[in-house]
Symmetry: C3
Subunit: 174 residues, 3 copies
Amino acid sequence: MQLLPVLISLTLLLVGAAATRKPPTHLEFYLHDIVTAVPLSPATAVRVARGVTPLPHNPTIHFGDMYVIDDPLTEGPELSSPALGKAQGLYIFASRTDMALMQTFNMVFTAGPHNGSTIAVVAREPILDPVRELPVVGGTGSFRGATGYVLFRTYSANGTNSVIHVNMCVRARV
Amino acid sequence: MQLLPVLISLTLLLVGAAATRKPPTHLEFYLHDIVTAVPLSPATAVRVARGVTPLPHNPTIHFGDMYVIDDPLTEGPELSSPALGKAQGLYIFASRTDMALMQTFNMVFTAGPHNGSTIAVVAREPILDPVRELPVVGGTGSFRGATGYVLFRTYSANGTNSVIHVNMCVRARV
Amino acid sequence: MQLLPVLISLTLLLVGAAATRKPPTHLEFYLHDIVTAVPLSPATAVRVARGVTPLPHNPTIHFGDMYVIDDPLTEGPELSSPALGKAQGLYIFASRTDMALMQTFNMVFTAGPHNGSTIAVVAREPILDPVRELPVVGGTGSFRGATGYVLFRTYSANGTNSVIHVNMCVRARV
């Protein structure tokens, strides 16, 4: 029976091809968006451009307001919890009517197994929804070629500041 | 002959693996970029940052001008046509010489089978070209993990306002 | 022996499926980020928004400063070297403490085999690192559906201007 070796070779070849798809990585942590300085931290989100038209239900915010962020990522919900990295980028109030952001940011990890790796996100975030899904569009280091998603849930909010529970599921590709 | 069951199992396994690649979704609709308010709508694109150098063939526009958009998406070319969603994000005149935009926006669908789902786009758009291809870099909901492209064609232009015919072809991935 | 034709068909089918994954494209070129005009060129990077807090080690830069770029891409490191295209988009100083940018730009190629095609990048760039990896998140034309990465190395820096050696490795997908 000469076919068996061929079949085995074929199977190994195909398993090898399938293996370029790595298993997903799940991470859970907290993001601190600090617009108003607190004793433990200066502002990590600053407004750099101002829109014209106030939002109907929140006139302190204007359609078009743009913030630049350097938000801490921590293991637990307290700002004093061990640091995992930063979320660096921008968000814009990009709805004339709703509390919905357009976000573009990178998460850089500075501790743990993904130290030095980054995740790129381009997303719409309706910040008052209980759960927001944000697409992962790329990554570097151990996350090179990453695809997947991030789930944001507001853990606590205090005026303009908020703590977000982040649930990340990404798959690196070669 | 014991090989046949093995072969069949192998085939089923591989067909299963291939099935993680879903069929593409094709959508066609219209986008309304309203810089100057009209009777039916306020401005949906507002300038929030201003560049320095006027473009050679259109000195009212400066290299670096940045707009935030909340542009309606509709089924037909009329603004009064049934609403499908919004395109929310930013565009920048990012060429010193040409009418070429750098765009980052999300399309959120608010009606139909993709209600609540979004598509993320990062693109260069040479707005005077007859057809512009924009890359889809991600998505959420029924478009989670989306890849694909969007074709923009100017349907009509009236001063600073324009209606864009949008042809979208995306594939969600798991 | 009836199994051999089946096996061969199966192999051909699977090789066909694998063929939707195209081979990667490698390109090497130089990017010129010109913040201060030089005899050969006006500024190709202009600041359009200003942050509030100066960086600790470089107080001329503020956290939140945003630049719009239309940076030339050339074959060799000299600005007078044959033109390959442009990098058009934005970068923001998105760290309160480090020289780290958040970038969103498209590279449009205007010569050679990829004339008219584009590559979309969303990245964090720690500009003082010897090598920076930037994720490719999409593309158009011959780069439709592109994934991959770009490596930036500073070739030379002169005050606010710099020449970046770019090493690009991308794979188009159908």
